[in-house]
């Protein structure tokens, strides 16, 4: 992409596993059924103790993710970020996302997919 790395910041405290990101990406990029530009993975559910359950949903960009280069070039948000029902996805330069991550109050993960690494 450029000298700077770009990525997706996911707040997975709030990702509900709705798969809108998967579908938005697939229809935008005409990705075949069964393949993904981003795939939601569910971790759980299992019971940790009497009152606590492990259940997280985390969307993971694949090598087919181009970070919506065309859309972003036109000043739009990546389609997964725009349509995410929990509003838990953020796109931008890793520098900026990492700064947000540095003060996060909820479970988060920053992905830099293949298309986002610095050159």
């Amino acid at each position: 992409m450029a000298e700077k790395a770009y990525g997706l910041l996911i707040n997975y405290e709030y990702c509900t596993g709705c798969m809108s990101c998967e579908m938005a990406c697939a229809v935008e990029h005409d990705i075949p059924v069964g393949q993904y530009g981003i795939k939601m993975e569910e971790i759980g559910p299992w019971q940790i103790d009497k009152k606590h359950w492990q259940l997280d949903c985390v969307p993971i960009p694949t090598d087919m993710c181009d970070l919506c280069a065309e859309r972003v070039g036109k000043g739009k948000k990546p389609t997964c970020v725009k349509h995410c029902q929990a509003l838990c996805m953020d796109y931008g330069p890793v520098e900026e996302l990492a700064a947000k991550l540095a003060t996060t109050k909820t479970k988060s993960v920053l992905f830099v997919p293949k298309s986002g690494v610095a050159e």
């Binding site: 709030y14 709705c18 798969m19 809108s20 579908m23 229809v27 935008e28 559910p45 995410c84 929990a86």
Partner: protein
């Protein structure tokens, strides 16, 4: 984006056509400051509201992209300016292109001789004029000979159909506005209960009544949100989007989830009450008792605005915590904590279908409803706001039958002896009575049926013997209106009218909070038309007064006339919100006569319901053990040793819709039931095994999903399955094999004593593995060739592509 419009006061208003319930404040907020259509990169972008088909009845804001040169549909994206969902969309709307260009899509009206019902290769294409002439001729002949009462007009959930379906029937002279679900057990019982108790409906305050949403200075996030018998993230029920709950969580709201299953929201909740299915009213009554006895209720609100508190307290007194804990399979401490959280202000309650699918649904709804009343949450910011149809726009609720029928004629509505259904403003036939009447012809025969945007055989026809199908076979003439050939159309219909999708039509969306146009962005494919247009065109043949306007757009203008604008104005305004006021009951804004209080006989919220008493029902809530439970049927329970609850929703479908959409179906290809690992191990069941789910009355197959989210004593089974890939003709398990894997065949069609409610959420069953040869679906044999003469496929988009 918001534009404020002050409406000039019109002292000599002669525009009213029906009793106005709400006189809206003279200010509206609109989206008139953004364009409704523009051009971008060789595409035309049309702002619209996605009111199915396909999809659901939320009407999220969308932008439809079409090709500037060809006018062809390209894609749908969310509308970031639209306050309702701010640019987000669920998978179903994102996948609309697949619906529009689906090979199975019906494109032309068709007819089939009634003697060939169920046959896949006996269809003939006809024109719309021929179809309308035929429907007109047959229905008017039936009406003239047997009376309008002998023709039913049925719709399902969603789409735009309930009001226009009722209106179409009324135009012909039929009062039989109906749907097929046992005990009318979807939303209607809760609305009826709310209307009865407080003269209006309330919704949890997620700020959706304000165009500036979470930024509105009057709004505060609910301190606590109860999610009771609902999985709103997926169900998005009744005009409320579930992910608003997530927005509120991000703004500090805490959750209490009352659900037999661990939903995602339950996993994030302060408190998850995993109650035994069917015991909601026990829990609510015990909470009430605790709240009252520990002085946690809002004494001032109760004193000023509620009626019958002393009697109510007497009624809840017997329900103590120990008993409730035992009956509901809960911990006493958790019930106490839930009671304390309910009493905090503001608390909002998102309730759901589980309360309807219970034979005691009215009393259960009453018990839960009273909780937010005695704790003073009503019409408080962040609490439970009172709602109504904006500008009395008839898009969500059906028209008043008294515009057309005399009270005497109204008595001919099927099931009108159930006073609760007849008098609570719901104006529907009682479904079980209607099904009985279709089958038996008593007390009078049903000769005709209009089935619009509903697929009852796949979605809500209960009983092992498919009585809905059998009953419809007794009709002389049945019309079906849908986008795809469904089991219902294949088995039962003589004329099929093809529906288009929302990007291809004009229309209005409205549920409670605002109105918006659905703007046509492209031409409908083939000769498909939309529900509004079909009913308006046909309805005008029967009664022009009920279907006014010389054009469809004039009819829409008629529907929104109380907003003081035309349909064309409304297009340019995008969304139109009447100004919302909190605490309406304290300002004389909740009653048509302008008095303080609520629109009930006593002017108060009736904790002791005078209307229920009048209708021969218990005026106060109570708990009764469900008739099919481990405790009420200890003998049966020895064999049918699991509690069965059904109908959990999934992101991939809207009830029986979307089964043919590859992108969605591939994510959830088969119906599943959820079973706890211990219960599965005891039965030798492994993940993905096809199993029989058998009740004392029937059995069906679904695939096991082993998960700890259900109690070991409970299984949850999916609903609404049919198989577009299976044989369209009935090979013993229904057209498109719809009864093979359909949980409704293990459930009875029986309602509670109010006429409302069924047992879909609480029954008994056993499960065991299928034999290998019991698993496959019947391969398509009929018609022998895909495009054989008379095949319905000749009138689909697939045939168009072939040609």
């Amino acid at each position: 984006m918001t534009q404020r419009i002050d409406i000039p006061h019109d002292s000599d208003s002669s525009k009213e056509v029906r009793p106005t319930f709400f006189n809206e404040p003279p200010v509206m907020y609109t989206g008139g400051d953004v364009p409704w259509q523009w051009e971008e990169d060789g595409m035309i972008c049309t702002r619209s509201a996605a009111w199915s088909a396909p999809g659901c009845h939320d009407g999220c804001g969308v932008i439809v992209y079409t090709d500037k040169e060809t006018g062809k549909f390209i894609k749908v994206e969310g509308d970031e300016e639209n306050p309702y969902y701010q640019g987000r969309l669920c998978m179903r709307c994102l996948d609309v292109a697949e619906a529009i260009y689906h090979p199975d899509r019906l494109l032309y009206p068709m007819k089939r001789d009634p003697k060939d019902r169920g046959k896949a290769d006996k269809w003939t294409r006809i024109t719309w004029e021929e179809a309308y002439d035929m429907i007109d001729e047959k229905f008017t002949a039936i009406r003239d000979e047997f009376g309008g009462k002998s023709i039913i007009f049925a719709s399902g959930t969603g789409r735009v159909t309930p009001p226009i379906n009722a209106r179409l029937g009324y135009a012909l002279g039929s009062i039989q506005y109906s749907y097929f679900h046992s005990g009318n057990a979807c939303y209607v019982p809760r609305v009826a209960a709310a209307n009865t108790i407080m003269g209006c409906y309330t919704c949890p305050d997620f700020s959706m009544q304000f165009p500036d949403r979470y930024d509105n200075p009057e709004w505060v996030a609910p301190k606590n949100i109860f999610i009771w018998g609902n999985n709103p993230l997926i169900a998005n029920a009744d005009g409320n989007l579930g992910h608003w709950v997530v927005d509120c969580m991000q703004r500090g709201s805490k959750l209490v989830v009352v659900d037999p299953r661990l939903t995602w929201l339950a996993s994030r909740a302060e408190l998850w009450l995993q109650l035994r299915p069917g015991t909601d009213s026990m829990l609510a009554l015990a909470m009430s008792k605790y709240i009252i006895e520990n002085d946690l209720y809002d004494a001032d609100f109760v004193d000023k605005w509620c009626y019958g508190f002393d009697e109510y307290y007497e009624a809840v007194k017997p329900y103590d915590l120990d008993q409730a804990a035992e009956v509901c399979w809960l911990e006493k401490e958790d019930i106490i904590k839930a009671s304390e959280m309910m009493a905090e202000q503001p608390t909002a309650v998102q309730w759901g279908l589980a309360l309807d699918m219970n034979l005691q649904c009215i009393t259960a709804s009453q018990a839960v409803h009273n909780l937010w009343c005695i704790t003073g949450q009503v019409d408080r910011p962040g609490g439970m706001i009172t709602v109504h149809d904006p500008y009395n726009t008839e898009v969500w609720l059906p028209p008043d039958p008294r515009e057309v029928f005399t009270p005497q004629q109204e008595k001919e509505r099927i099931g009108s002896t159930y006073e609760m259904i007849t008098n609570s403003g719901m104006v529907q036939c009682q479904a079980d009575s209607m099904i009985d009447q279709l089958v038996t012809g008593r007390p009078f025969k049903i000769h005709g049926a209009w089935i619009q945007s509903t697929n009852p055989l796949a979605c809500c026809a209960q009983d092992p013997e498919p009585r809905v199908e059998k009953g419809l076979k007794n009709c002389d003439f049945v019309v079906g209106v849908d986008c795809f050939m469904t089991p219902t159309l294949m088995a039962n219909c003589d004329v099929v009218l093809p529906l288009c999708f929302y990007p291809e039509r004009e229309g209005l969306r409205s549920v409670w909070y605002y109105i918006q146009n659905t703007n046509k962005a492209c031409e409908p494919m083939g000769e498909s038309k939309d529900d509004f247009q079909i009913n308006w065109e046909l309805g005008r043949r029967w009664n022009k007064d009920l279907w006014p306007g010389e054009t469809l757009e004039e009819y829409f203008s008629y529907l929104i006339q109380e907003a003081g604008i035309t349909y064309d104005d409304s297009r340019k305004l995008n969304w139109i919100y009447p100004e919302f006021h909190y605490f309406k009951y304290a300002k004389g804004e909740q009653r048509p006569d302008g008095q303080l209080g609520f629109n009930t006989m006593t002017g108060r919220i009736e904790l002791y319901s005078l209307l229920l008493a009048q209708w021969g029902q218990k005026p106060l809530p109570y708990y009764a053990e469900p008739p099919m439970s481990p405790y009420s049927q200890p003998e049966l329970y020895k064999e049918y040793n699991l509690v069965l609850t059904t109908g959990a929703r999934h992101y991939e479908s809207f009830h029986s819709e979307h089964r043919q959409m590859n992108r969605l179906r591939s994510k959830y290809p088969d119906p599943r039931f959820e079973i706890h690992p211990d219960a599965a191990a005891e039965r030798g069941i492994e993940e993905g095994d096809w199993c029989w789910i058998e009740s004392p009355i029937g059995r069906c197959r679904e695939r096991a999903h082993i998960t700890p989210i259900v109690d070991p004593r409970v299984v949850q089974a999916d609903h609404g399955w049919w198989f577009p890939e299976a044989d369209p003709e009935d090979q013993g398990e229904g057209c498109f094999a719809t009864y093979a894997r359909n949980i409704n065949v293990v459930l009875p069609s029986e309602c509670g004593d109010t006429g409302f409610g069924n047992q879909s959420k609480c029954y008994l069953c056993k499960v065991y593995k299928c034999e290998l040869d019991e698993i496959p679906l019947p391969a398509p044999e009929h018609p022998k060739e895909r495009f054989a003469e008379g095949s319905f496929r000749n009138f689909t988009y697939e045939a168009e592509m072939e040609a």
